[in-house]
Amino acid sequence: MNNSRLLRVGQQSLSLIADMGHAGLFLWSVITSRIPWRRIVPLISEQLYRAGIMSLLITILAGFFIGMVVGLQGFHTLQKFSAEQALGKLLALSIVRELGPVIAALLFAGRAGSSLTAELGLMATTDQLSAMRMLGVNPLWRVVAPRFWGALIALPLLTLIFDVVAIYGGSLVGVDWLGVDRGAFWSGMQSVVEFGGDVMNGVLKSGVFAFLIVWISLYQGYFCEPNAKGMSIATTKTVVYGSLAVLAFDFILTALVMGGW
């Protein structure tokens, strides 16, 4: 009784480690597979359209509302210390350093990551991948690699757009509605935000997040159990693992970067 429970724990942790190893090998074979770049560029731009542009609207809307709410909350808190002039600094630093990369990545995991998993899962379930292999086409470069590179490019760009929209959303609330001085708002922001240290770090972060999300979602889709239940489990796992990976790595990356200061 006790013995079998112990056995199960051991088996589960072994299969967890095996899963990670499997995912690592999968990633390795995606990156190192010989890619005919000239033929893959149109495929990448199609994926850029589906991962990037289709997520553009949700990213812009989320960015706008998050900027507005940070502006509103920040204003009411700063007003207690009559320091509402510092709203621009608060808004820009929190958006560019943390909220932009993280929330864009979470939205991306839900919007693009899950659809990648579902698509690849359906391909695997309906034996399209096997059919490709039979025709002598390696699905790794024909199907997986374009999605990998497309999503890897799309998320940092979405993060940049998110940052700008959120800051303008915050300035709409803070400056236009609540009456923070426009000059103090923007010049305060310019005096504290650094291009290399803050903006570029945010973009770098979102690149790492994109890598994690696309790795998880492609792995889950490519190796999902070929039936309806397997697909639904894989899609759920993509969103859950993707979001957790983003939040965990956000802490690690921030601690690494802040450690140098």
């Binding site: 850029l48 359209y49 560019v96 940049l160 923007w186 310019q190 903006v199």
Partner: protein, 155 residues
Amino acid sequence: MKSKSLYVAVGLFLIVAFASLVILAFQMTDFSSTHTGKTYRVTAAFTNIGNLKMRSPVRIAGVTIGRVSDIELNKKTFQAEVTIRISGDVDHIPSDSSASILTAGLLGANYISITPGYEVTNLASGDAIETTHSALILEKLIGKLIYKKTSKESS
């Protein structure tokens, strides 16, 4: 035809993203002000720099003309050697000017203020500012005040 409109959409997406980068760089950071023009380095030794940090502003009459680029401890004199970068178009600061560390507001960040002197020769790259005034440490000041008050009462 379908693939062409796809390319247009992707191209627009890339343009919007890079436009956001440019807006972030020029509207929301001091990217433009720190990366234009030449600068020259001047050093100054302080006995106490307080909360002065790298990239703290250097001002003359309240106008920012440069930034602190390096802070090091001189191991012989135990003074803080501060290297400051001054923008190249402010190139005729008298060589007997003095540098003092001031605080912006009561609890604000420290900055270096340069008070121009009267010498004919100007500070050049690599020169040291001889006359310096250290940061005002609030705790010391309060300590002095309390000491004065208690000594007055006892006498």
